[in-house]
């Protein structure tokens, strides 16, 4: 049996990144994700990787652009205000089809907000927070183990589809400690060659990575390609958890820390004989739309309740997918509050709003 260790979310993510082949990290400190750069500052040099505490998040994301151009598995992490600063870089990275992993340990906002958890960066993450037509591939872990598994897998996904992968965590996932089983250490020497990367053009034509094309046909073709890839990801990689939705009358839809609260609420309500289920998207871009749509078609399902730490962001995607077939209600808290179980039960039962 594999060894289980007790680890803080941020440190577990950092170790999973190293084991997944990450050899370059650049970032700028911001709470609640500081343990990621702190851990990697020590860990990456041990495996021959590079760690840089950059002068800003703007610089960090552009270092990632460079390291990814150069063919390395590269990662940056930050929290909401810092992720805002990375948006221009993410747009370039997406257009350049450069694989990388970005962690956002979301905190409450807007503005400087709070260092307590939030989920109000959903729009920024899934609708394309930077300029132009592009999408990120976005995961939302709900446990430290899942954060580890997702981080590890994200480097594969990023390389396979040549897309930036964003892991949309929240302060809670980063800060809490849970037992985890860490994955095996991968050897970067065994990774498939990146023929497009800037590695020195020995015996080949030079490679050029740019995001400028003044030729409308070519630029439209590049944009189409980004969206073709995104559709392939939707087809092959969307993930979700269906927890007792099949016979449910009320389906709670939640991700991240709120989904854990929702699961407890479902368990308690089920003990009382109430037919409540939980739909938990694990990827939110692309959204597991087929799975949610199938649940909306179930005759027993009377309504959806979307619970988020925001004024209502994911609820818009749920409403688009449910498309009027069933009512979609919303409950959200902001300011750094995390919805608690009793509160959510009372909302499900038509009480607190």
């Amino acid at each position: 049996m594999k060894e289980r260790v007790l680890m803080k979310g941020n440190e577990a993510i950092a170790e999973a990144a190293v084991r997944g082949g990450c050899r370059f990290f650049a970032g700028y400190p911001i709470t609640p994700q500081n343990e990621i750069p702190e851990y990697l500052s020590k860990r990456l040099p041990e495996v021959g990787g590079s760690f840089i505490q950059s002068e800003s998040e703007v610089s960090a994301i552009n270092m990632i652009y460079g390291a990814s151009c150069a063919g390395a598995r590269a990662m940056t992490s930050s929290s909401s205000p810092g992720i805002s600063l990375k948006q221009e870089g993410l747009s370039y990275i997406a257009c350049g089809q450069l694989p990388c992993v970005v962690i956002n340990m979301v905190r409450g906002g807007p503005g400087l907000g709070t260092i307590y958890p939030g989920q109000a960066d959903y729009f920024q993450a899934v609708k394309g927070g930077g300029h132009g037509d592009y999408k990120l591939f976005v995961y939302t872990p709900a446990t430290v183990q899942e954060a580890v598994d997702i981080t590890y897998k994200s480097f594969e996904m990023a390389d396979k589809y040549r897309i930036p992968v964003l892991i949309l965590g929240d302060g809670t996932i980063g800060q809490m400690m849970e037992p985890v089983v860490l994955p095996e250490m991968k050897d970067p020497a065994t990774f498939p060659e990146k023929k497009w990367a800037l590695t020195g053009c020995k015996g080949r034509e030079r490679n050029i990575i740019n995001t400028l094309d003044m030729n409308p046909e070519r630029l439209e073709a590049i944009t189409d390609r980004l969206f073709d890839v995104y559709e392939q990801i939707r087809e092959n990689e969307t993930e979700y958890e269906n927890y007792m939705c099949d016979d449910a009358e009320t389906v709670i839809v939640a991700y991240g820390i709120v989904s854990r609260v929702a699961k407890s609420a479902v368990n308690i309500l089920r003990e009382q004989g109430k037919k409540v289920g939980l739909f938990r998207p694990i990827t939110v871009s692309p959204y597991p739309d087929k799975a949610l749509s199938a649940i909306a078609d179930l005759p027993n399902v009377k309504k959806f309740l979307v619970a988020e730490l925001s004024k209502g962001q994911m609820v818009e995607d749920v409403r688009l997918i449910v498309n009027g077939r069933k009512p979609v209600e919303f409950y959200g808290r902001t300011g750094g509050f995390v919805i608690n179980t009793e509160e959510l039960i009372s909302v499900v039962e038509g009480g607190k709003r």
């Binding site: 370059f24 650049a26 552009n62 460079g66 150069a70 590695t199 020195g200 400028l212």
Partner: protein, 248 residues
């Protein structure tokens, strides 16, 4: 009679014709980079270059080596990422004054402070060329631009930024020099400086930046000849040439 080649395109340059305006000296600087890397026996597979956002945005068309183009001002950060992954390659960025001294000032200062083992070729033409002649951080006092149409007024527009002088205050950088392209003698001096900068990188010494004064007849609204005279008579007195730092 045997024919002797006395002038040829350096092998690091592609045969794509430069898109630069008549009288612009960007092209000379491209050539110098290619010539010195050739003279230093750095072959194409050992160089990776970073183009800026600015008139030189298409620099990736002209150098026959792996190239990328960074977001406006971010070339030193991109170069850092590339160099850390490929410490054995010669990595250079090529940036204008808006790119390097304005929007990318932080990236420039911190790459220098970290003593990243990269070479930055910094083109000071005193203007935002690509966007049509707006004020740059290096626009001289009194100089016309489309966003200071009565001439740069220090009260309204502040003072020009002296990048070599600023960076030379830092402990990190190894070699900082300002050179010019306004006549043949100075082009040769520029070549020497650029060669030394790459030499330092090859020796693993660390950060070097060569600031090159370049003419922009189009946006300065001068003939090419007048533009070169302008560098000599107006720009150099304000931005003196010379070695600002050389840690040897």
């Amino acid at each position: 009679m045997e024919e002797k080649v006395v002038f040829a395109r350096p092998s690091l340059l592609t045969d794509a014709p430069f898109h630069y305006c008549p009288g612009c000296t960007h092209g000379i600087v491209h050539r110098l980079i290619a010539e010195v890397l050739g003279e230093l026996n750095v072959s194409r597979e050992n160089v990776i270059g970073i183009a800026p956002v600015g008139c030189a945005v298409f620099a990736y068309d002209y150098f026959d080596c792996d190239m990328t183009e960074a977001a406006h001002g971010r070339a030193p950060a991109v170069a850092t990422g590339i160099k850390r992954v490929h410490p054995d390659k010669v990595v250079f960025s090529y940036q204008g004054d808006g790119d390097l001294a304005c929007i990318g000032a932080a990236e420039t200062i911190h790459a220098a402070a970290r003593n990243e083992n990269i070479t930055i070729i910094f083109i000071n033409n005193g203007i935002f060329g690509m966007t049509g002649g707006q004020m740059a951080p290096t626009t001289l006092l009194g100089q016309y631009s489309t966003t200071c149409q009565d001439g740069r007024d220090p009260v309204l527009n502040g003072y020009p930024v002296h990048v070599c002088e600023m960076l030379s205050q830092l402990k990190g950088p190894q070699y900082i020099e300002r050179v010019s392209t306004h006549d043949a003698a100075n082009v040769l001096k520029a070549k020497k400086a650029i060669k030394k900068a790459f030499q330092y990188q090859l020796e693993g010494k660390g950060f070097s930046m060569i600031e090159v004064l370049v003419a922009c007849p189009t946006n300065w609204k001068m003939t090419p000849v007048k533009a070169l005279e302008h560098i000599k008579n107006e720009v150099i007195p304000y931005f003196p040439l010379g070695v600002y730092k050389d840690r040897g």
